[in-house]
């Protein structure tokens, strides 16, 4: 039998996955080299949605730079905004009021929750269980409603400004957030019932797309994807910003490094996010919602860097200022770009269906990769 198999000549072939493909979640193009169904090589091709955000930042004022970052990782837009604001505040040596820090933290965690809910739904859909998609959206709806009431926007919020927030929170904010937590605490076990405990799902994810700790570090993978490989890299713990130094939460670490570990890491992160919000929601200090800043912000000459933890990993903002009202150079270190680079390493030797699962657990947002 083996002899026959050796004598049959087989040929590797290319297939273009994307730019239009349902499970690349946008306009990512992957060039796959396949042997039958087995993946030999994955080459991501970028640039289909490049808008040169970094270049556009150079001619905008610092207040305007904030809103451009909404369009990078649109599922974690509040956290992107926060990263720019924190960098500018660092440059101005501005101490923001306590109230701002706490509100920013609460909304960041709500953003993380809503992003993970959407990821969970999409993950199920990629593996063929379409119903999860709508379950994820059902619960996410409550968070977007809270956002809408708070700042008027549901997706690209642009709630942060350098020095604080654009407006104060809505009087209903605390109540509705508590209502949401109560609701979601009942729904999250339902997520487990639908996917985590499902035999087909565990078979599809366990042992698939292994990423070792060493590889995670050398490819610069961050966020839940890296923490599932045992790489402790939570910026909220390592380099606390806003109000993260005053809340008690665990850094989720797994050692398996496969798709199932990455899945579990995100589910566990949802519980931790809820814990953080619970600790803060009743303790929002009174005070101003914005520190006093000048209408035209000019950073002193120099280089400023700040990193934050987005739902996908570590986002770094690097600003060089030459004492003008707009930055000299801006560079974003986006989590998606580095996470994508490990895809080839993870996918080799697995099947097409596994590639979809691996991409899903990396939680890629294409505009974040192609800025």
């Amino acid at each position: 039998m083996e002899e026959v198999a050796q004598n049959i000549e087989t040929q590797e072939y290319f297939i273009n996955m994307g730019p239009q493909h349902p499970s690349t979640h946008g306009v990512l193009r992957l060039m796959l080299t396949l042997d039958g169904e087995i993946i030999k090589k994955v080459q991501p091709h970028l640039g289909y949605i490049h808008r040169s955000i970094e270049k556009m930042c150079e001619k905008d004022s610092y207040q305007q730079v904030v809103h451009l970052t909404d369009r990078m990782d649109y599922l974690g837009c509040h956290i992107n905004n926060e990263a720019v604001c924190l960098t500018v505040e660092k440059g101005l040596e501005l101490e923001v009021p306590d109230r701002v820090k706490v509100i920013r933290t609460i909304i960041s965690e709500l953003t993380r929750l809503s992003s993970h809910q959407l990821w969970w739904g999409v993950m199920g859909m990629d593996l063929g269980a379409i119903t999860t998609f709508l379950y994820g959206f059902r619960d996410r709806e409550m968070i977007t409603d809270i956002f809408e009431e708070t700042c008027g926007a549901r997706l690209t919020m642009n709630y942060n400004v350098p020095g604080g927030l654009m407006f104060d929170i809505h009087p209903n904010f605390q109540n509705r957030t508590k209502q949401f937590l109560e609701h979601f605490k009942k729904k999250l076990p339902e997520y487990d019932k639908l996917l985590t405990g499902n035999v087909i799902f565990t078979e599809r994810t366990k042992g698939i797309g292994y990423l070792s700790k060493e590889d995670a570090i050398s490819y610069g993978v961050t966020g839940p994807s890296a923490r599932a490989s045992g790489f402790s890299c939570d910026v909220r713990k390592k380099n606390p910003y806003s109000a993260y130094d005053r809340v008690d939460f665990k850094e989720i670490l797994f050692t398996e490094g496969d798709c199932f570990a990455r899945y579990q890491a995100r589910i566990a992160e949802m519980w931790e996010s809820m814990k953080i919000i619970e600790q803060l929601i009743d303790n929002i200090p009174e005070g101003e919602y914005k520190a006093k800043t000048k209408a035209v912000i000019k950073l002193p000459p120099g280089e400023y860097y700040q990193r934050v933890e987005t739902p996908r990993g570590e986002l770094g903002v690097y600003i060089i200022s030459d004492n003008k009202k707009n930055p000299y150079r801006v560079k974003f270190r986006s989590p998606g770009f580095s996470n994508l680079s490990a895809l080839d390493k993870m996918a080799r030797g697995f099947k097409i269906a596994d590639l979809v699962a691996i991409m899903s657990t990396l939680d890629l947002v294409i505009p974040d990769i192609d800025r």
Partner: protein, 362 residues
């Protein structure tokens, strides 16, 4: 004419006699066949329309939404509107596709369910053809469909389609074994391949109750294997829109795509109908032992209603699978068949033979 909702045989025989008397026997037979064919065509069209609508509503039920609501009352005319759209759509074709095979494939896919549906006993006497090798025939014709799927994938000149077609070939050929063996388990019990005889043999009670453990195992295997054979989720690897973008019918559009779509739903109906006939007594009402009152009350419900009630229950089960489970991977699916279902099935047939030999059934 002697029309009775409980037994159609007199009514059908009378029509047949009338046709033969009025015309010559040959022409009478041909007219009879034409009437049956028209009836089936109408039935299949109606089936397609209603099953697509039901699928959407059931899917919406699982996903906490309303489903189609705008076209007609409760969206009932939505599928009609969709079919009209599909008919008027331009049929597109890729540049280097094999035109003849490309156009032929949808019809081959459609042949299988149309041939199989003629053997389904809808009620007493309401059956188009009653072969003495009924189950064998159904299983044989239902495997024609895979040829159409392979041809569609091959002639599309698209790598995704080819992967989908190959997957589907491997899948259908494997799972056919399990379908056949699980049906044979009941054939051992009832002692006949003829569908009308199998239904008649369940007058005292349905085989799934009377055949107890081996019959229940056979039914579970039948449901799993036939879901796989009809390319429905969680075994929809041939389509797998998140992996290979609809697989073998990626390049089809308009009415040709509608054929694939229709075939899937008619196949689902046939699976449910065969399952209901073999395991749940077809059109036989539910009888429990010697409880006269209960049995008489059940007899009041017409057999056609019984048949469609059972079929709808199984169709609902199939839809439930599709909208709940994630998709399997191709190698896992083949492992499931060859390593677990097939050996279990063979053991189950032996067990059933033992049960029949020792008369250990009800």
């Amino acid at each position: 004419m002697g029309f009775s909702i409980y037994d159609f045989s007199d009514f059908i025989n009378n029509i047949h006699a009338f046709l033969i008397e009025t015309f010559s026997p040959a022409i009478g037979n041909i007219i009879g066949m034409a009437i049956v064919a028209v009836c089936f065509l109408g039935f299949i069209a109606l089936l397609g329309l209603s099953l697509v609508y039901i699928e959407r509503k059931v899917c919406a039920l699982f996903q906490q939404r309303l489903g189609p609501m705008r076209v007609g009352k409760w969206g009932t005319a939505q599928t009609v509107a969709d079919i009209i759209k599909l008919i008027f759509k331009e049929p597109l074709m890729t540049k280097d596709s094999d035109k003849f095979l490309f156009n032929l494939a949808p019809f081959i896919v459609m042949i299988a369910p149309v041939m199989a549906i003629s053997l389904i006993p809808f009620a007493s006497g309401l059956q188009a053809v009653d072969f003495d090798i009924g189950i064998f025939f159904i299983v044989a014709v239902s495997s024609i469909g895979v040829t159409g799927i392979l041809l569609a994938g091959w002639s599309s000149n698209n790598k995704y389609s080819l992967i989908g077609a190959m997957r589907s070939g491997a899948q259908i050929v494997s799972y056919e074994l399990s379908v056949i063996l699980s049906l044979l388990t009941i054939v051992v019990l009832s002692g006949s391949l003829q569908l009308s005889v199998i239904v008649e043999s369940q007058r005292e009670g349905w085989w799934i109750f009377r055949g107890h453990i081996p019959a229940i195992i056979a039914f579970i295997i039948f449901i799993v294997a036939s879901t796989a054979e009809s390319n429905r989720g969680p075994f929809d690897m041939a389509e797998a829109e998140s992996e290979i973008t609809a697989g073998f019918h990626t390049e089809y559009s308009g009415i040709k795509f509608a054929y694939f779509f229709l075939a899937e739903y008619v196949n689902m109906f046939i699976i449910a109908a065969v399952g209901a006939t073999i395991f749940f007594g077809g059109w036989m009402p539910l009888h429990i032992g010697n409880i006269e009152f209960f049995n008489n009350a059940m007899d009041l419900i017409p057999p056609v209603i019984w048949f469609f009630m059972k079929v709808s229950a199984i169709i609902f089960l199939l839809m439930w699978f599709k909208w709940t489970f994630p998709r399997l991977r191709i190698d896992q699916m083949l492992t499931l068949e060859w390593k677990y279902l097939l050996p279990l099935n063979i053991m189950n047939i032996l067990l059933m033979s033992l049960v029949v030999l020792t008369d250990f059934h009800f």
